[in-house]
């Protein structure tokens, strides 16, 4: 499980209001996984199972936070922004967090950051494969538009 720590923390960081919450969620995820290791079904990939627990923990932590990220996080306190290396363009995952809902964001993350299959994502999110496909397509369309908009804006301003 040691090798998953950084990957899980990176994901949980995108779903948390501060670094401490992300670390707590990581700790809870690993404890839950260790405690319930007996119920792990080897037909699933281990990472799928871990992410399923992590998503549940992140959702549990977020139920009290009804305020959207864009209204709370400023650049100084946002843990995600603090971990992003300086780049010429805005990190697309920051836009994704602003534009997509929690589940679609998680589906996009698992697909493009973790390279999971649609079936694994559906299992991790406890959704159907068709729901996952449709929402991945929607997420892609939204982010594609955002990427093109950002590019045209940067070209307009030189």
């Amino acid at each position: 499980m040691h090798s998953y720590r950084e990957r899980l923390l990176r994901f949980l960081l995108t779903r948390s209001m501060n670094f401490a919450d992300a670390e707590d969620a990581l700790q809870d995820t690993l404890i839950s996984a260790f405690r319930y290791i007996g119920s792990y079904d080897p037909r699933w990939r281990f990472s799928t199972w871990l992410y399923r627990i992590a998503i549940r923990n992140a959702a549990k932590a977020r139920t009290s936070d009804v305020v959207p990220f864009s209204e709370v996080c400023d650049e100084d306190s946002d843990p995600l922004l603090q971990c992003i290396a300086d780049a010429e363009t805005e990190n697309l995952w920051v836009s994704a967090r602003r534009l997509l809902n929690d589940e679609v964001f998680a589906a996009m993350w698992l697909r493009y950051a973790e390279d999971m299959s649609v079936n694994d994502i559906a299992s991790a999110l406890d959704r159907s494969a068709s729901w996952t496909k449709v929402n991945l397509m929607r997420g892609r369309r939204v982010l594609d538009e955002e990427m093109n908009r950002a590019v045209s804006e940067s070209e307009a301003y030189g």
Binding site: E6, L9, R10, L13, G38, A87, A113
Partner: protein, 131 residues
């Protein structure tokens, strides 16, 4: 790999996260403090035999229901029907020839007219050739 996919991967890689030693120690200590729960048998998915068993059970239940309903229903009261009716005798004798004659008479007239025209034409031709 398309542009968006590449960009999402690159941007995910740009989120640089390090699990601090303190967090690592904390997690390790927590893991030592908990015991894994005893292994729970993973429930196998429904097999083909399960579906067969449920189908057979469903059919048997339906048959039992039909049997019970029929058993409880009152026996049919015998009805005096008298002598059997000879259907052939009851059916009225239709004069099919009249109907066929009605239907074919215009055609017959047409045929007669054509034959008369043909005969006239034949006679005319004979006259013309001086036969």
């Amino acid at each position: 790999m398309d542009k968006l996919t590449r960009r999402l991967r690159d941007d995910a890689d740009n989120i640089q996260v390090v699990v601090s030693d303190e967090l690592d120690r904390r997690i390790t200590a927590s893991l030592h403090a908990v015991e894994p729960l005893p292994e729970r048998a993973v429930r196998p998915g429904p097999s083909a035999s399960f579906w067969w068993a449920s189908t057979i059970a469903g059919v048997a239940a339906a048959a039992a229901l039909v049997a019970v309903v029929n058993w409880r229903a009152p026996a049919p009261v015998p009805v005096e029907t008298g002598q059997a009716v000879d259907l052939v005798a009851v059916v009225p004798d239709i004069d099919w020839k009249v109907e066929s004659a009605m239907l074919t008479s215009p055609l017959q007239k047409e045929l007669d007219d054509l034959q008369a025209d043909l005969k006239k034409a034949e006679e005319k031709v004979k006259q013309d050739i001086g036969f």
